[in-house]
Symmetry: C2
Subunit: 250 residues, 2 copies
């Protein structure tokens, strides 16, 4: 992209050096998680380089997940993220306790309503059938991390009404209290911006990025049991998984 | 949340009706993908309801992925997303061709550089070892959908230099041209905002949400082969997968 290979080489070295220095300042705790970094002009002056070089270094660190930018505010140090293994179908509290965290839930609402076409289709019901909608705000180590909107049949909803949804996963209640065998779940995962209601619960600014999941959980017999929208804070959560390679065609 | 159950019931019905009407207008093509919806005040007037009710309906449609909001601009109809099965370790072109799409790549840069501590760790090399970095912009049906930053050993890089990276997946080149058996990959998946350089390539506004993936691919013998940062447009791409339930502990 540059006219002279030598100039390009020098600029690569310069911005690599600034990246390294910023990384070191974050590692040694000079800048802590969620701290704001100095402004671009401060860094330009401090490092004695052009603004383009500073921007390149910051852009790289952003791509690497080390820092994040907030429009009109500046660059901040990313905080460590809660990790969940996506290759296992687990309740959230179950997964969090496996990794040494404490998960709690707050039930925001619990009500019956007529299933719209999409939810009804997922649960293989007629549109308009009465279903139970459960809104939960989920906390990890006392920080709000996700909003879960779950739809189950009205009958299951009546049973869940008496359950301890503040500390227990719905999956475990199904399995251990109701003797329902879970089979599998179908998920979709995408990145989007948070809607205002969810932003309020998760204490996010308008326009903040979130992971949006749709999940349908089936019984071992293949009957849909539970359809959910899950919204995870982009700045606080990530999935990880391990995939094996199957033979490919040429 | 409301003082009177009857008032709450009426408002649920009202906003459910507006959701249904908007969904119908999107389904019948009155509002097409990426079209802007009327403003909140237009809808308030058109439906004869309060702004709170309109906002609730729009918030729900946003949570359901039917529409998206752009800060300071308004609400827009979401476009259909390209889907990739996350339970299979596949090259992107391979996966796209499986679902009837045409994938192409543009190599943005191909260079050698000293691996930083993070990249070196992922490839199990000493920090500062020379590696090859390949930046590719990936298109589905002529639309830019992702930026991939791949790191391989300098030696593999020299071989890839001669390969057709515009139409072929690196995975397939490894397997079919070099006879390297792929084993598995480790991934992390999170939602974040796009960095400026990636935004430019993907034609996204500043602050747009993206899926950020880190992927390390291993040979069948367990040797790391390829470490990548993948950035997918949040508005154009989603993953899906199917997970089986393993027996849980109480």
């Amino acid at each position: 992209m540059s006219a002279s290979p030598q100039a390009a080489e020098a600029s690569v070295t310069l911005y690599a050096r600034i990246k390294d220095e910023l990384r070191a300042l974050i590692r040694d705790g000079t800048y802590k998680p969620l701290d704001q970094l100095p402004s671009e002009s401060d860094m330009t002056a401090r490092f004695g380089v052009s603004r383009i070089t500073v921007r390149q270094a910051l852009g790289d660190l952003q791509n690497e997940g080390v820092i994040f930018k907030v429009q009109g505010k500046g660059s901040f140090v990313a905080r460590p993220k809660t990790d969940q293994d996506l290759s296992r179908l687990q309740g959230f509290a179950e997964a969090m306790s496996d990794s040494g965290h404490v998960a709690k839930n707050r039930v925001l609402s619990f009500r019956k309503l007529a299933a719209d076409a999409y939810v009804a289709g997922k649960l293989r019901l007629e549109e308009g059938t009465e279903v139970c909608q459960i809104l939960r705000l989920r906390f990890v180590d006392s920080e709000p991390i996700s909003v879960d909107i779950s739809y189950v049949s009205a009958e299951l909803g009546d049973r869940l009404k008496k359950a301890d949804l503040a500390t227990r996963d719905i999956f475990l209640i199904f399995e251990h209290d109701y003797g329902i065998k879970l089979g599998n779940a179908e998920l979709s995962i995408e990145a989007t911006t948070v809607a205002d209601d969810v932003a309020g619960h998760l204490r996010l600014d308008a326009g903040a990025p979130i992971l949006r999941i749709e999940r349908t959980t089936f019984t071992a017999a293949g009957q849909p049991l539970d359809f959910e929208y899950l919204f995870y804070r982009g700045d606080a959560f990530r999935y990880h998984l391990n995939i094996a390679r199957q033979p490919a065609r040429q």
